[in-house]
């Protein structure tokens, strides 16, 4: 069985590579190249993170004093509403699925691009449009009823509400199209020989995410369309006086928004599954279990939404099944956690920055996950739902889970996007700053919540009278939160420094084994000169690389010589 004699080789003349576009606009602005689009997502996401982060810091300044005199209470309400909205839809989804998914997934499956590159460009450009619509609400009175926008309060807030709905519908369309695009890409464009069970685990996670993106996000668009009609045309979906129901909105909203947390945590799982075996120099433990548990989480995630609504008043007979299914999600998640620990166990661990983030993720995410299991329990949830305990829980999952894993992936794949390694020194300092900030900000929220500190309050004077230590812990949190700002600022400094004068990465700086590391960094426009043939899973470090045609997929890496080679910050557009 000789591969070279195969028909596909004889047709090589047809296997042409399209030339890269010329000109700044086609190359960097309206690019259809998935790698450039990934960088666009990254830059946009980071900018929005700056804005949403400053909202959070303003809130922390407000909470410095229990009386809360820094800003008006109404402004505070707008701050937490916009902080949540921007962080969920314009930071996490673009960063985790948009940026990492676009950069890595097509390279990992040996494709030249995603299935519909133009659609991909559209998906990206809807994000800034949505951001513009969203921030325009500040001129007409930004919404102030929380990122969930529950009616009836959300029906009474002027033109900011409908604009908010429009903005999120636009993000929803972007997210749906990305999901569709990724799903088709993974189904149809894998390199020859890459069967489902040979697919890298990040691609598996992206696939599970795409499934949610496609089917849950449309439900969100429907919910917000209904809310839009209710706000603008006074349609009685959510008006009890005319037979409507406010609980209906919660059902429609959470049917998307619970799976939404899996939209950012599943790619995070994928990142961890790539980073750990690479830096433990050891085969991933339980490949199939990790792959299928991603799917299990995606599918179970559609059947747990009502656990957000226990205090809202759903029927008791409905609460119990939702509680049990929520517990069940702990099983696939636990399978992943233990598989990762078994992967590191006995490995030859290299403590690089991505590895530090990945190992920290196991701890911080498990912490947030376990408090999630507490909250799934109906009586506990009824007690804790409106308190800081919930805030602590989801920030541990989101900041300690999705963002931490995003940083792991960012440090891991930055060389593939730009051809330069990030500074390890700055990376490690940033890591410890971030972890200190994360713990200092969100850990005390657990006991504040258990004592009964209510969330979304602009002033906690009454609570502080009953629990005087609340003042200390709130100030502690406010100080710690600025450590996270410092960590993210350091990331920005690191990017600017490393693009100019970082070490050249070469094809495979980490000695990893997935396909994206088999080509030059930054990856050329066409990705693979010749599509490789995949023979096995990528993770077995004791075996030779499981690919054919490896010497033909990329140009030989030129000898790094700063004097001769032009400075190549390809794709960054800076």
């Amino acid at each position: 069985m000789d591969v070279a004699a195969h028909p596909i080789e004889q047709h090589e003349a047809h296997d042409h590579i399209h030339p890269a576009p010329e000109g700044f606009i086609a190359k960097y602005v309206f690019s259809i190249d998935h790698k450039v689009i990934a960088i666009q997502y990254f830059v946009t996401g980071l900018l929005f993170m700056l804005i949403a982060g400053s909202f959070a810091e303003l809130m922390r300044i407000q909470l410095w004093n229990p009386k809360g005199t820094f800003m008006e209470y109404h402004t505070f309400n707008q701050m937490f509403t916009m902080h949540g909205t921007v962080m969920v839809w314009l930071v996490l989804i673009p960063l985790v699925t948009g940026s990492l998914g676009n950069l890595v997934m097509p390279l990992q499956i040996g494709a030249r691009d995603v299935a519909f590159p133009w659609l991909n460009m559209l998906s990206f450009w809807l994000i800034p449009v949505s951001g513009l619509i969203l921030f325009s609400t500040f001129f007409v009175g930004a919404p102030s009823s929380g990122w969930t926008e529950y009616p009836p309060i959300s029906l009474e807030q002027g033109p900011g509400g409908p604009l908010w709905c429009l903005a999120i519908i636009v993000v929803g369309i972007s997210s749906t199209l990305t999901g569709l695009n990724f799903m088709v890409t993974i189904f149809k464009m894998r390199a020859p020989g890459m069967t489902w069970t040979r697919m890298p685990l990040f691609t598996w996670a992206t696939f599970a995410t795409a499934l949610i993106n496609m089917f849950a996000t449309v439900a969100l668009s429907a919910a917000l369309l209904a809310l839009f009609f209710a706000q603008v045309y006074n349609v009685p979906f959510f008006d009890p006086a005319r037979g409507g129901s406010v609980i209906l909105y919660q059902h429609m909203f959470w049917f998307y928004s619970h799976p939404a947390v899996y939209i950012f945590i599943l790619p995070a799982f994928g990142v961890i599954s790539e980073v750990l075996p690479t830096f433990a120099r050891k085969t991933i433990f339980g490949y199939k279990m990790i792959a299928f548990s991603s799917l299990a989480i995606a599918i179970l995630g559609f059947a747990v939404w009502a656990h957000h609504m226990f205090p809202g008043g759903i029927a008791p007979w409905l609460q119990i099944p939702f509680m049990i299914i929520t517990y069940l999600i702990g099983i696939p998640t636990g399978i992943k956690i233990f598989s990762w620990m078994a992967t590191i166990w006995g490995g030859r661990i290299q403590f690089t920055t991505p590895m530090l983030y990945a190992m920290a993720f196991i701890g911080t995410f498990s912490f947030g996950g376990i408090t999630g299991v507490y909250l799934a329990c109906v009586p506990v949830d009824l007690h804790e739902h409106g308190s800081y305990f919930v805030v602590a829980h989801f920030h541990y999952v989101v900041a300690g889970g999705a963002v931490t894993a995003f940083f792991a992936g960012f440090y891991y794949w930055f060389p593939k996007a730009t051809g330069r390694l990030l500074s390890e020194k700055m990376g490690k300092v940033g890591f410890w700053l971030f972890m200190a900030g994360l713990t200092g900000t969100f850990l005390p929220m657990h006991w504040l919540g258990l004592e009964g500190m209510p969330r979304r309050y602009a002033s906690y004077e009454t609570f502080a009278k009953a629990f005087p230590d609340a003042v200390f812990w709130n100030r502690f949190e406010s100080v710690s939160s600025f450590l996270m700002v410092a960590a993210i600022a350091l990331v920005a400094v690191n990017i600017i420094y490393s693009i100019r004068s970082g070490r050249r990465a070469g094809n495979n700086p980490w000695g990893a084994r997935t396909l994206e590391w088999m080509i030059s960094s930054p990856a050329p426009y066409y990705n693979f000169k010749k599509i490789p043939i995949v023979l096995d899973r990528p993770y077995d470090f004791t075996q030779p690389l499981p690919y054919r045609n490896l010497d033909e997929v990329t140009d030989p890496y030129p000898v790094p010589s700063e004097a001769v080679l032009p400075r190549n910050a390809a794709g960054m557009g800076v």
Partner: protein, 214 residues
């Protein structure tokens, strides 16, 4: 191990290469038409969720209501006119049949018949929209007045919007087909248009049952 693995991939490669020769495209992406078809079907599935969410809202509100049709200002709303709705449905389903004939004519290279059936489809689609407009005008409830009205006008409005988009879609396809964009072996756009049109029909079956028959 390696030998077995390549053997497993061989039928795949052959299929790709054969399709490439047949369609005269880049063999690595020989599946292009396949990709577009799959993407389009996924788009339709996602669209189902949009209708599904509003159908869920309708079922939720209907089962929670003490009477159906609901009582507004002390008077129960009348049921919808089934006879007229049925007539209008026949118009829409008829357009599905003519669309099928249009695609089959194209496959058999009968361009005149294709044009005839496509125009018939577009006209029937416009006829359905006119029927809907009449239905809206003569309706005895309002969008704002009751949950029945809210669900009815939102869902049939969304569906009507889809029919309108379909009429535009088919018109564009007709123009493209007559300008030689499609050939006897490459006519994915026509397949997509047909699928979309049948999809709109299927959604109407559900809506007709939910609003008129139930």
């Amino acid at each position: 191990m390696a030998v077995r693995s390549v053997a497993r991939t061989t039928p795949y490669l052959e299929k790709v290469a054969v399709e490439a020769r047949y369609n005269d495209v880049d063999p690595v992406y020989a599946e292009t038409r396949d990709i577009r078809l799959f993407g389009f079907v996924l788009f339709l599935l996602a669209d189902c969720v949009l209708f599904g969410a509003f159908v869920f809202a309708y079922l939720y509100l209907r089962t929670a209501a003490p009477t159906w049709p609901p009582v507004v200002d002390g008077k129960q709303l009348p049921r919808l006119d089934v006879a007229f709705g049925a007539m209008n449905s026949i118009v829409l389903f008829g357009s599905g049949v003519t669309m099928h004939f249009a695609l089959e004519s194209w496959k058999h290279l009968k361009k005149l018949a294709f044009n005839f059936w496509l125009v018939a489809t577009i006209l029937l689609g416009i006829g359905f929209l006119a029927g809907q407009a009449h239905e809206y005008m003569s309706a005895q409830m309002t969008w704002q007045g009751s949950t029945f009205g809210a669900s009815f006008f939102t869902l049939t409005g969304l569906h009507g919007f889809h029919v309108f988009a379909g009429v535009c879609f088919l018109t564009v396809l007709g123009i493209q087909a007559n300008r030689g964009v499609y050939t006897g072996s490459k006519y994915f756009g026509l397949v997509a248009g047909t699928l979309y049109w049948h999809f709109v029909d299927v959604i109407w079956v559900l809506l007709f049952f939910l609003f008129y028959l139930w």
